[in-house]
Symmetry: C2
Subunit: 374 residues, 2 copies
Amino acid sequence: MAEEKGFSFQLEQQAGKARAGRMVTRRGVVETPVFMPVGTRGTVKAMTTPELRQVGTSILLGNTYHLHLRPGHELVEQLGGLHRFMNWSGPILTDSGGFQVFSLGKLRKIKEDGVTFRSHIDGAACYLSPESAVAIQESLGSDIMMQLDECPPYPAEREYVANSMQLSLRWAARCKEARTAKGGALFGIVQGGMYEDLRLASAEGLMDIGFDGYAIGGLSVGEPKVLMNQVLSYLPARLPENAPRYLMGVGTPEDLVTAVAAGVDMFDCVMPTRNARNGQLFTHTGKINIKQARYRQDDGPLDAQCGCETCAHYSRAYVHHLFRNGEILGHRLMTLHNLAYYHHLMATMRQAILEQRFEEFAREFFASYPSSGE
Amino acid sequence: MAEEKGFSFQLEQQAGKARAGRMVTRRGVVETPVFMPVGTRGTVKAMTTPELRQVGTSILLGNTYHLHLRPGHELVEQLGGLHRFMNWSGPILTDSGGFQVFSLGKLRKIKEDGVTFRSHIDGAACYLSPESAVAIQESLGSDIMMQLDECPPYPAEREYVANSMQLSLRWAARCKEARTAKGGALFGIVQGGMYEDLRLASAEGLMDIGFDGYAIGGLSVGEPKVLMNQVLSYLPARLPENAPRYLMGVGTPEDLVTAVAAGVDMFDCVMPTRNARNGQLFTHTGKINIKQARYRQDDGPLDAQCGCETCAHYSRAYVHHLFRNGEILGHRLMTLHNLAYYHHLMATMRQAILEQRFEEFAREFFASYPSSGE
């Protein structure tokens, strides 16, 4: 077991439960609350890393499972690590690969020691243990590693969730033990489904082991939004004040505001990038889908309140035209805008927290952002 | 009939038949010899216009046929023209739409007045005449318009080619007559297939009418390379010295060097952009295909002698990985490199002409660039 010396989190300001902080990693400082774009296969889809910097990205998420299968983490390590491979010098948080493995359903088998699964690419037999999950993340050069955990589906029986949460706790301890001196920071993941007592037991167990940061897993897995918000209503505030809190795989702009209000500091989600490729754009007045015929002759920008390159130089009519013709540039311009929107939202929240007017911001946000019904 | 006042071409230097020139358009100066990337549907595929500027693009080609069908040239005009639509303030040369129409085969019917055809998108009946071809190009805001011509296939009987060439000449005169004061420059197109006397008659006919520039059409249509080179051996030098000469739809790096040596000033081709999307890259030591397994672990740049952003920041192994996974970023990085290669080749030729050492350059180029067998 090695300590990550370079990592720290400093709480700068609190407004209600909402927090503004400063997370120091071995590859630079991240101001929180922060949104992390998802770079599944060593690329945030359609974007270059200088473009990410330009729209406000300060930290990326890398998917261990995908890189483990292709091109292989050994090759990435041999080529100088994930940062050099993808031309990104800032911090990278990696997931453990567990979430993707558990999504494989019948293709995987969970035991105490670890999980066996078959590659979704070629069916090859693979094995992931807490120790190998850490070793793979270390070989990629991850700055923030995630423990291997089991993410139970929703809905799930209490007994299943309780046993699974205990397994994840044992795996958490093994991950911490497995970390070597070359590893980055290590976060534990709170599980326990929608059961408050299990969630709190999970959080206590992780805090006993001690991690650099604490994630909330097992949400945004198909449960009604009200259940997620219920977990957020009590859980973040029970996690250590001087460690970052990371809500995994979330979410919509509304989710981000709700979760920041509940005391969460970090987020990742494929939504801004994936939805962009389907023509869905986030704007200050709600979501639009650019493929709709109403935008065919619309000379206005995607979002009149946005300062991104797409909104500065291109019309809705042009992006509509590109999208209808399947042009790569359409995917680019829309992804750029959506990420700019997300990062701008986070920066706006941070500023509101620093200025002690977060509650006012949140009220205005929900008043002007039409409910998506999600 | 209106004259284009803003257009001129000045021959700066000649080295053998090779020419360095300065073409002034109403949207800026173009140094020749020049390569024009193809922007089929209002976008050079995968690229933004600032990126094009960065790799050395000074003039683009826009495809009239595609824009006519989608989103429609009326809409483009209503939105402020093609330049504003696609965020490009430099010059745009538009084709007449004829080449695409003639590629439709059975879907089109040629008469003296014009050509009727069915849209390849929805089968709708369309009609293109010399007058409407000019009107459409003017409505797009083209800076250099091309006459409507018929491009005969290869091989074609002499009688067919002769009649077709005469029709193209009559259409050329009608195009010049149709041009209005808002139109850009207008180029005639030399046809005549592989028949030298017909080529020269076409050139004479066009010069009698008088155009701002002269294009060579009907090459790179499937004929053996030796036949194209034969046409180049006599034709460009017979065109006016003080007008630009444009070889349409050509070609490989070897073709560009051969044609510049023969006195051609302008080129367009989908090759650098289309081939990039198939993984084929042009380098200073010949072509490579990034999908080959040998590049999987190759930590070197695509082209060690290239200064583009792709070669500066990414390895062959990374681009190989992106390509194998169908990542948009792979298309981007490869397209950027291929265009940088093409523009760098043109700039190198221009410099060699200005310094009276073009012959030496060409000898070295063909010695170091492996024959592609194309």
